[in-house]
Symmetry: C2
Subunit: 117 residues, 2 copies
């Protein structure tokens, strides 16, 4: 089955998890359509404009993987701030916390995958 880009579910969320600005999400798989087969709950591209962020939050019962596609940012990786750039992978395990902020001058694009633990 092919889902064309313009058919994908898209969300724009303000102040996600207490962050700044807007988060644009483009969903590749949808829980509502049973496309995860019970293995997870989110697989999407996240776009943060310069200055926007996802606030610091904990993962409970699941874990998230970010893959940075483009742009520059800073991750709070379970209490420690670290710069990230394209190609970097951030894994936030069950019980850990993270945040992500676009500290650059262009869009920060990140693939986000949340699977259950």
């Amino acid at each position: 089955m092919i889902k064309r880009f313009d058919e994908l579910k898209k969300d724009v969320v303000s102040n996600f998890r207490g962050g700044k600005g807007e988060l644009e999400m483009t969903h590749f798989l949808e829980v509502e359509k049973d496309e995860f087969k019970g293995k997870g709950r989110l697989y999407c591209k996240n776009v943060l404009k310069p200055g926007a962020s996802i606030g610091f939050h904990e993962h409970v019962g699941d874990f998230e993987t970010y893959v940075v596609l483009s742009g520059e940012g800073v991750v709070n990786d379970n209490g420690e701030e670290k710069p990230v750039r394209p190609g970097d992978v951030i894994i936030t395990k069950n019980g850990e916390k993270h945040s992500l902020e676009n500290t650059g001058t262009v869009d920060l694009e990140v693939m986000a995958l949340i699977l259950f633990d």
Copy 2:
């Protein structure tokens, strides 16, 4: 935990699944490190150079999601050939078959995710 791009596991496979040329894989999560927590077995970026392909094959007991990042190609989607381009999502369910060929002039880059059904 952050894995920097140059720390990621990379494979180059010739004639993958009977396809043409080489497939370059950059792995974001590794089964060997229990990073899927039993939910899947592959999460990587696949790169096919012009003319290279992944051969037609069946998924049994799992399902695969391709997200096209860049380039142009043709997918055989369970028996039907369809052109794909950046932003398209190809879902191959448990029991279905697919192939992927780079029919363009630049690298075809695709995120690949295999979860268990």
